[in-house]
Every structure is written in structure tokens, then in C-alpha cells.
Symmetry: C2
Amino acid sequence: MEISHIEHIGIAVKSIEEQLPYYEGVLGLTCYNIETVEDQKVKTAFFKVGQTKIELLEPTSEESTIAKFIEKKGEGVHHIAFATNGLNEALKEMENKGVRLIDMQARKGAEGLNIAFLHPKSTGSVLTELCEHPE
Amino acid sequence: MEISHIEHIGIAVKSIEEQLPYYEGVLGLTCYNIETVEDQKVKTAFFKVGQTKIELLEPTSEESTIAKFIEKKGEGVHHIAFATNGLNEALKEMENKGVRLIDMQARKGAEGLNIAFLHPKSTGSVLTELCEHPE
């Protein structure tokens, strides 16, 4: 596995609409996509900053993991996603090293990427995602 | 002001030494610098990931803001730093827009950068730093 860059930073917010004046009006970034991911019960807004995206995550239901995160910890950084290759091999290798995985195998994530989450217990409490372009 | 990329992500940890096996052994990143910033009461370890650095922050005293952060919120992402230009002008402009600033003017930060922090009250609870190369 080789990590090339930080693919995105996921930030939990109560309301994307309320955050747009900061990200667009103050930081001068451009929101290029807003979409709802029904099965995750979350609305997402994407901004590009160099190699990295900022992904705002707004819960669309109280049962959303994002709603629970906000309830417990407040708004703020939810996860960091690294861009990598050879994702399934990397997951196997990590498991052999004793890393606790949330996803044992890559699954489909936003924007068609193959993704897998590592458990914060193994990552110094930072919820960590690995992303791979599917080719 | 134009933000070009994410300069670094600051992560609060209890012990850099305990985190090295994850960042180096699991993620395959290389720690290129460890230094202690006496006046911040913090030890820092840097890793490069594409355009962005990961900066681990370990408190060297119980009075360190990082120690207080960990006590309150646990280990995890402490701040995000954006690379920009025209920092002092940007701060004035933000103040005029009602953004709450921690630093009213740029000051010297790690690695010789000019830096300033924005208050989480104005940034959706994400402690946010702006960094500028000093030329």
C-alpha cells in the first residue's frame, strides 16, 4: 500500500446551509456538489482544496451515525480519508498486523471510490478511511 | 485571499512514540521531523502525505492546551491548517465579515510560517489555522 495524498476530510455539521457562508464567503472555496446518500442518512457537500476535498456531512435522520457523532462530540472533524492503491491487499496486511478494521473488504463509497474504514481504536482515535480509484 | 491547499492537519495524541507504529508501520508514512516547541508546551512529529503534513501534537505539560484538549475531548483531530497568501489582509477582511479571530495579526509558527488561528465559534467548531510562506 502506498498513500499518495489525503483524499478528503469529513466534517460533521448540523446544517450545510448554515456552513456555506463560512466555506464559500469567508474561505473562498466553491461547493461543487451537494448530494444525499440515502442509506447513510446523510447529506454531503464537497469543496476542493488542492489535492484534498472537504466533505461536509449533515445528518438527515436522528439515527444517522453523523447525528450520533454530533450528539456525543459536537460538530467538527469526523474522519480523514487517505488515497491509496491495492486496498484489499492493504486491509489483509493491516489485519495481520493487528489493526482493527470496520470494513474487512473494500466497498463502494461516494463518487464511485472503493473505500474501507479503520477502527479508531487502532488509529489513535482518528476515524480513518482508505479510498482507492476503481481501476 | 486564496487557499491553495491544506498545509497540515494537527492531531492531538497522548504519546507520539505510541503512535509511530501506526503512522509508520501501518500507513507507511515517514516521520521526517520531531521537535519540541517549548512555549507551546508541545512535542510535534511531522509526516508528509502529498501536499499536506500530518502534525502529531503531544503535550509536554499538563498546562499545555493540547493536554486540556485531550482531557476534554480525547485524542483526535485538533485543527486544520490552510495554506494561503496575503494573510494579514485576509484577517482584516474576515474581521470585517464578523469572523471571530484568535490571532488578530499573523505571528510566527512552526517551520517559519506566518500563521493565525480562527475561532471555532466562526468555523463550525473546527479549530482553523491559516498559514503563509514568509516572502
